[in-house]
């Protein structure tokens, strides 16, 4: 058993290294110099000497292999460097932004999972009926909608037209708030992006839950329970749902990996100051250290989530313990 874990572990390290290398190479392959965003049009007026000094200060003149080695060493030490563009430590940047991403994706996950569980159970229970069809169709329709389009419709209707919710940012800027007022402000700003995210993510969970419930409901022990006269409600909640939650847990755990990367498009549409938006801006600005750091965080979290799933699965589902393929 533990030979399996070592082999798996080794593979993960390999993947991590490969993605770290890819993360390093990708920004370097992009044409265009970060000098533009550091110095603007004025850079054209610098003479060669001063320009070289700028390049030296940014560390861009060292040979490629040397930059690569330093990158790996820094990564291992957890040192993420300083943003070219903003002149601030990236760790700070990530820390500021990640809390908003976690808030958005965290509540989104919970909401989507809850909606999916409820919906999936209901649909499975009313299998074949109009409710089931309606829910399935709605789920498929939502999955087919571009998330940014949905977000913009919500902005147009609820933000611009009805003025029920604010349309940008995570908080009303510049106004110091405490306690409940702060909570209300954050909640109001979170509402539209959250709803968009839930509408887009819930269908996936819904389908998995529905499948799982159907499978469980088809099991012999359910028939036995019914035959014994156990109420339908009880069958549903005490017996079926508990067992169907297993794959939902898997989905939940796997989603965790993506929490850190943020829903870039949704954050862009709503100007929500999260990590996804940071990555997009950094790529457009060729802010190499930020891109590398953000990529690495995403890769790490995805690998970690996978590793967690791999470890926990045999514990949760005994069927998988044997027959590894």
């Amino acid at each position: 058993m533990w030979r399996f874990f070592v082999a798996r572990g080794g593979q993960y390290v390999l993947v991590l290294l490969a993605s770290a290398t890819l993360n390093f190479a990708l920004p370097r392959m992009m044409p265009g110099s970060p000098l533009l965003f550091l110095a603007g049009e004025e850079v054209g007026r610098l003479d060669e000497g001063h320009r070289r000094e700028l390049v030296r200060r940014l560390g861009l003149d060292r040979p490629l292999w040397e930059q690569y080695v330093r990158y790996l060493i820094d990564l291992a030490r957890g040192e993420l460097g300083t943003s070219f563009q903003r002149g601030r430590p990236i760790a700070d940047l990530l820390r500021e932004r990640i809390s908003w991403t976690l808030l958005l994706m965290g509540t989104g996950l919970l909401g989507a999972t809850a909606a999916g569980v409820v919906g999936g159970t209901w649909a499975a229970w009313r299998r074949g009926g109009s409710t089931d069809v309606g829910l399935l169709f709605t789920a498929m329709a939502l999955e087919s909608m571009p998330s940014f389009w949905l977000g913009m419709i919500l902005i147009a209707v609820f933000g611009a037209h009805l003025r029920w919710f604010p349309i940008f940012g995570a908080r009303t800027p510049g106004v110091p708030l405490e306690g409940t007022a702060l909570l209300v402000d954050v909640a109001r700003h979170l509402a539209l992006p959250l709803v968009t995210l839930i509408l887009v993510t819930a269908p996936g969970t819904f389908l998995v839950m529905r499948y799982a419930m159907l499978q469980v409901l088809g099991e012999p022990y359910i028939a036995t329970a019914r035959a014994k006269g156990v109420g339908e409600r009880s069958v549903l909640f005490r017996h079926a749902m508990r067992n169907a939650l297993l794959p939902v847990c898997t989905v939940f755990m796997l989603n965790l990996g993506f929490v850190a990367s943020g829903a870039t498009v949704i954050e862009t549409v709503f100007s929500y100051p999260g990590v996804g938006r940071l990555m997009y801006e950094a790529v457009l600005n060729r802010d190499y250290p930020v891109i590398q750091a953000a990529f690495f965080v995403v890769t790490l979290s995805v690998m970690a989530a996978n590793a967690l799933a791999d470890l926990l699965y045999p514990l949760i589902d005994p069927r998988v313990r044997d027959g590894r393929r």
Partner: protein
């Protein structure tokens, strides 16, 4: 990767899957007709400036005009060509590649399998946005490059699914028998494995097409697609950039293109569903962790 086996007892039993699939196919056929017949049914040439910009709907322009005075309805009609072609080609490329990889990995197993699946994991982890920017910068954000990039990132999931299928087929007795009788590998692959895999590939293609259409819309919207190729996504790009949401123009400028994208993606999904249901109702879905991940990458 963690593998959870869900044996699915006909989850779509008693549901109008076939009618839905037929409806979906019907819509797609209609869209294809519109795309082909565009030059005849489109009221104007979408590239010509035909009226003042930002006009609301009128009898001459049922969906009004865009920011430089081009007819939006004509843009939508011609846009079907671009969006459908990109979706189709990207999905075809992705699934062909994915089937190839899946078959090779599943059949040969061992180091080849491990290597290929690690590659699949890597693909699933690559941040999608910057890769598109790299390619767009080198190759130019053009039509073919959009297809290439979408395909380059969406072949991974079909590869996994096909591999799972090959694994289950590979253990079947008659394959062992064929091998024992000394049949050559290509023969086994083409005569025995491939036919078992093709229907699944087809289903995967339909699903991939659905995703490809959505991805193309997102890319164009972010300004990473080719803005001079008038796809539905690029219409949304200009609508957003020229404040359609503020100026009240969104009902006719934003709703229709998004709706068309949704309807197309949905139709593909319904057809895919009907196909999967019909091909093999007792199909064992091996939901590996990575496969589920790809669902989420879209966001």
């Amino acid at each position: 990767m963690a593998v959870a086996e869900l044996r699915l007892p006909r989850p779509f039993l008693r549901l109008p899957v076939r009618p839905a699939g037929i409806a979906g196919a019907g819509v797609l056929a209609a869209l294809a007709c519109v795309a082909i017949a565009a030059p005849w049914i489109s009221p104007y040439d979408p590239a010509s400036v035909v009226a003042p910009p930002f006009e609301p709907p009128s009898p001459a322009h049922p969906l009004g005009t865009n920011d430089i005075g081009q007819d939006i309805l004509s843009e939508l009609i011609y846009g079907s060509r671009i969006s459908l072609t990109i979706g189709f080609l990207a999905a075809a490329t992705a699934v062909s590649l994915g089937t190839l990889v899946g078959v090779v990995a599943g059949y040969y197993g061992g180091a080849v399998d491990a290597l290929l699946m690690r590659l699949v994991d890597l693909i699933l982890v690559i941040p999608f946005l910057p890769l598109m920017i790299v390619l767009a910068a080198y190759l130019g954000p053009r039509f073919w490059n959009t297809i290439l990039v979408i395909a380059a990132l969406t072949w991974a999931r079909p590869a996994r699914v096909i591999r799972a299928q090959v694994l289950s087929l590979g253990t079947l007795d008659y394959v062992d028998a064929a091998r024992a009788l000394g049949a050559s590998t290509p023969r086994i692959l083409t005569r025995h494995i491939l036919p078992g895999v093709l229907p699944l590939s087809l289903a995967q293609f339909i699903t991939a097409a659905s995703h490809a259409i959505l991805v193309e819309a997102s890319l164009s919207f972010l300004g990473l697609g080719d803005p001079t190729a008038k796809s539905w996504g690029s219409i949304l790009y200009y609508a957003q950039a020229r404040s359609a949401f503020l100026s009240g123009a969104w009902p006719w400028w934003v709703l229709p293109p998004g709706l068309l994208v949704t309807v197309t993606a949905l139709s593909f999904a319904l057809v895919g569903l009907a196909l999967e249901e019909r091909l093999n109702p007792r199909l064992r879905y091996r939901h590996s962790g990575a496969a589920l991940q790809t669902e989420l990458i879209r966001n």
